[in-house]
């Protein structure tokens, strides 16, 4: 089965207050050692991979702040990858960027390497909110990054915008959206701030220095945002993902549809041949393990029951919903049989779930309650 590849670049220059992805502070020497280990990991994977099954359909470099990477090392990794696998010509190849690190040279190098989909962590255009998030870029940085991308004729790129920030008003969000839409990115991730345990933001909140955002305001922001984006021609294909037609992120869809993906780098999560496993969330352990010639992985031992829960959970987050036939083919069970029947009926009756031809999907109001609905539906 063809698969997607994710690379986790584990370094940042500073740590954003809301982020709970694995990262270390950037250090060039450390980066070099990381890449050495990455080359080993890639070679080991390549050597043990079944020979008939080597087609890569998309690549996504996330982090961390991958726009900090030494490009020659990234190029060497690609060579290593191509030595063992077939990287399809013109495949979707994304990389995450902090606006302040975007330069003309960087984008030109991306083009040379075949990277065709940069994404920019703009998050907001309000200095006050950026400060709260501990982001280091300015409005100018964001605008310049997009202008440069347009100038270099990237046909596809994305921008991220956060809402439901403490101290953010509806009006601030509307202005943020207007400014972003004006830049015309083909893809927008418009997502609600999640206060993750252990982050500086969560700590501030626990100490009472920040108030949680009102539930009704959050609803209004999301709903208003969705409408605004729809007017501007963006189609919502998943809870937080909006795209001009034809610019949906294929890589993310592969996660949500239960296709195979292989991750490299610390804390990368893989789903290959029905197995889920994760690399350790520590660059040092990752390096040590690979120096010994061992995969730095932790297995998720769960089985088919958990796979089905995941398929329901991820499927309902997508506008198109869960494909009944696909579900039955994948698991040998009908999706209905995996649901709490009583809740299913209540939810259909109250108009939250639409049991369409061949698909189970959420209605517009249901979409806002996807987590609650999923929780009620699973057994």
């Amino acid at each position: 089965m063809p698969f997607s590849v994710y690379l986790h670049f584990p370094y940042c220059r500073n740590k954003c207050s809301y982020c709970d992805f694995y990262k270390e502070l950037y250090d060039p020497e450390h980066e070099r050692r990381f890449y050495e280990a990455l080359f080993t990991e890639t070679r080991l994977r390549g050597e043990s991979w079944p020979s008939e099954d080597r087609i890569i359909t998309s690549i996504f470099v996330g982090g961390g702040t991958p726009s900090l990477t030494r490009l020659d090392l990234l190029a060497r990794w690609l060579e290593e990858l191509k030595r063992h696998f077939t990287v399809l010509e013109g495949l979707e190849f994304s990389i995450e960027n902090n606006p302040e690190s975007v330069t003309l040279e960087l984008l030109e190098s991306y083009k040379e390497l075949g990277i065709n989909r940069p994404t920019f962590g703009i998050q907001s255009f309000k200095p006050k909110l950026l400060k709260l998030l501990n982001r280091k870029h300015s409005i100018r940085d964001s605008q310049r990054a997009v202008y440069l991308t347009n100038a270099l004729r990237f046909e596809n790129f994305g921008a991220d915008l956060i809402f439901a920030l403490p101290r953010q008003t509806s009006r601030m969000l509307t202005e943020d959206l207007d400014q972003l839409i004006e830049l015309e990115p083909p893809h927008i991730s418009f997502y609600q701030l999640t206060i993750e345990p252990g982050t500086p933001l969560a700590e501030k909140m626990a100490r009472g220095k920040l108030k949680p955002v009102d539930e009704d305001l959050t609803y209004a922001m999301y709903r208003g945002g969705c409408e605004k984006l729809a007017e501007a021609g963006y189609v919502r294909y998943e809870v937080s993902s909006f795209a001009k037609p034809g610019h949906e992120c294929r890589h993310n869809i592969s996660y949500w549809e239960g296709q195979d993906y292989l991750a490299f780098g610390p804390s990368g999560h893989s789903f290959v041949h029905g197995r889920r496993f994760a690399n350790v969330a520590s660059v040092n352990d990752y390096i040590i393990s690979l120096q010994r010639g061992e995969y730095p992985v932790e297995e998720d031992e769960s089985g088919v029951a958990e796979r089905m829960v995941e398929a329901i959970m991820l499927g309902l987050r997508m506008t198109r919903g869960i494909d009944r036939r696909q579900f039955a083919e994948r698991f040998g069970h009908n999706v209905e049989d995996q649901l709490d029947r009583r809740q299913y009926e209540i939810l259909i009756e109250s108009g939250y779930i639409i049991p369409d031809r061949g698909r189970i999907r959420l209605s517009e109001t249901g979409f806002f309650l996807a987590d609650e609905i999923t929780r009620r539906l699973i057994r």
């Binding site: 609803y219 109250s350 806002f368």
Partner: protein
């Protein structure tokens, strides 16, 4: 070997909680060398973990000491320990009935408290000789003269008869032992008469069955005797008699005046009722000793497993607890809201807390318990009388002639400045004021009749808060009295929730319905649907409130391929919500079923 009955002294120690009863008992055991220093564990008599934790005695005990008195004679002292809580008033009265004397312990700093009084009255009802003791004289705040004066006023003794002790420092212990020998009369009773022995406690041993603790009043008892209980006429063969030190000491016989235990392969502890009389089958006594009452539970609550599948486990756990606790009654019941569970009867709120705590601690049960209620006597128009221990079972108003509820006479002791506060609290709780007596110029004792339902929960906390902790409170055995009561139902989206029904005085119903709906509104989380809460008496809706639906609950991030984490989060939420009860499409958390307990009256 029979002991000269004139050298036996049977006595109890009575005190308000924390006045030092257990420490004093420990000192007596030490000074009589009943236990060595090495065996000395703090407060040996309180052996259950829960007892040690809460500093209260739940079960009665009896321990024998030998004491060489100043007259060079050896006396046999039987110390019968009594439970120290109002839920167990009857047990206390039986333990006291097994004695001829009582040591009345009063804290030198705090003075006489409500429990001191109620226990003293019980002792006087049983014609016991009282030995007054002021304890904790070593405390910096001690005022032994003032407290001694209070005692003199109360029992009418001479000031020099009040002993002064510090159990903690070991002061005055020998004087107390001498006083016990001198003041407590030896038991009377005829060793040759037919056997009459009173059960004052019973504990259960998995291997040997029930072990009743008895006071032999007349006759004697030995292994091999076939004995009969008066209450249920059941006959058993005695296989061991003995007395208690720290361990059981088997002996040949117990005779008139003695205190001890016996085994008779009694499988059910409920056969050994406290206060019952034991006699022999061969030459039975003509009548039982006086004072036996078959105690009935006073407080009832529905206990339901949080997860329906645990029903059988809960039943087994309750059955095991009942082996050692004959006062625990339970019958299966079902609730449309909570599924299958049990209606459990308790002696009082503390008993309920102990049982539910043991169920969760020792048996790992996760429980939902409904708001505790009392038992009502409902007189129907056709002349029938039904008892109702579950508000949901209240007959409809059309067929009710009138209803009676249990009342208790209660004693509240407070510094005089708080008399006004007590009066207000008394009115709030539908108390009928009887009288006030002044123990001294600073302290008053108020007597009230209260509906039991008004004092079984949060009354004590309330009392403490309006008097800054200075009030003490105790009450007697309940009696029934007519009241104007109605059943209040709670409807969730028009479905009545049986587990939330309550029985309440008509004058309070409106306020109560309002407060309960309001409380529930805060306890039931917002759902995907609008939730309408209503309080109703019969078909009349008296209050209504709504919970607005949530409109957004979807987490933003699902990137990076870490699907496992999101799934686990979801499963954890699911697990958490499993504890919720489903009423129609509404999920109700467990806490909601106890909402009534949080209402300010």
């Amino acid at each position: 070997m029979t002991h000269d009955p004139t050298k036996i002294r049977n006595f109890s120690i009575i005190a308000h909680i924390d006045h030092g009863k257990s420490t004093l008992a420990d000192r007596l055991l030490q000074n009589t060398k009943t236990i060595s220093e090495r065996e000395m564990r703090k407060q040996v008599l309180d052996s259950m973990d829960l007892e040690q934790e809460r500093g209260i005695t739940i079960k009665a005990h009896a321990i024998r000491m030998e004491y060489l008195a100043s007259d060079k004679q050896i006396y046999r002292l039987n110390l019968i320990d009594t439970p120290g809580h109002v839920d167990f008033t009857y047990e206390v009265s039986r333990a006291l009935a097994a004695c001829e004397g009582a040591v009345l312990v009063v804290d030198a700093a705090q003075g006489i408290e409500a429990q001191t009084l109620s226990n003293l009255y019980l002792a006087m009802d049983n014609d016991l000789e009282i030995i007054p003791v002021v304890n904790k004289i070593d405390l910096p705040a001690a005022d032994p003269d003032r407290v001694a004066a209070e005692i003199v006023d109360l029992i009418g003794c001479r000031p020099e008869e009040v002993l002064r002790c510090s159990a903690k420092e070991g002061i005055g212990i020998n004087e107390l032992l001498e006083q016990i020998v001198k003041v407590v009369p030896p038991p009377t009773g005829d060793p040759q008469a037919p056997l009459q022995a009173m059960v004052f406690d019973s504990v259960f041993d998995t291997y040997r069955g029930a072990m009743p603790l008895i006071r032999v009043v007349n006759g004697s008892l030995q292994a091999g005797d076939r004995i009969k209980f008066f209450a249920n006429k059941k006959i058993f063969e005695v296989d061991e008699v003995g007395y208690l030190r720290l361990q059981k000491v088997p002996i040949e016989s117990l005779s008139a005046g003695d205190v001890g235990y016996f085994y008779a392969s009694i499988k059910d502890v409920a056969d050994t009722k406290i206060g019952d009389t034991v006699t022999t089958e061969k030459s039975p006594a003509k009548q039982p000793l006086e004072g036996f009452v078959d105690v009935k539970p006073m407080v009832f609550s529905g206990l339901y497993p949080a997860v329906a599948e645990d029903f059988t486990e809960l039943r087994e756990a309750l059955e095991k607890l009942k082996l050692n606790d004959a006062s625990l009654l339970f019958t299966p019941e079902s609730s449309s809201a909570l599924g299958f569970g049990f209606r459990v009867g308790f002696l009082g709120l503390l008993h309920m807390e102990i049982v539910t705590e043991r169920l969760s601690r020792e048996y790992g049960q996760t429980l939902i318990n409904t708001v505790p209620n009392v038992e009502y006597h409902v007189y129907l128009t056709d002349g029938e009388i039904v008892t109702v221990d579950n508000p949901a079972q209240m007959p409809s108003t059309q067929v009710i002639d009138h209803v009676e509820e249990p009342y208790v006479e209660a004693q509240v002791i407070v510094p005089s400045e708080y008399v006004g506060a007590i009066m207000r609290l008394g009115t709030e709780r539908r108390g009928e004021y009887k009288n006030t007596e002044y123990l001294s110029t600073e302290r008053a004792s108020l007597t009230y009749n209260f509906p039991l339902a008004e004092i079984i929960f949060d009354f004590y906390d309330k009392l403490k808060s309006v008097t800054r902790g200075y009030a003490s409170f105790d009450y007697g055995i309940p009696y029934y009295q007519r009241s104007d009561l109605v059943k209040l139902d709670i409807l969730v989206n028009s479905d009545p929730v049986d587990a939330l029904s309550s029985i309440i005085h008509r004058d309070r119903a409106y306020h109560w319905g309002l407060a309960l709906c309001d409380k529930l509104r805060n306890l039931i989380p917002r759902q995907m649907f609008e939730v309408v809460l209503q309080a109703a008496i019969g078909s009349r809706i008296i209050s209504r409130s709504t919970i607005r639906p949530i409109r957004k609950n979807v987490t933003a991030k699902c990137y990076g391929g870490d699907v496992t984490r999101k799934r686990k989060l979801l499963e954890r939420q699911k697990e958490g919500k499993k504890r919720m009860k489903q009423i129609g499409s509404v999920e109700i958390p467990q806490e909601a079923f106890l909402a009534a307990l949080q209402i300010e009256r």
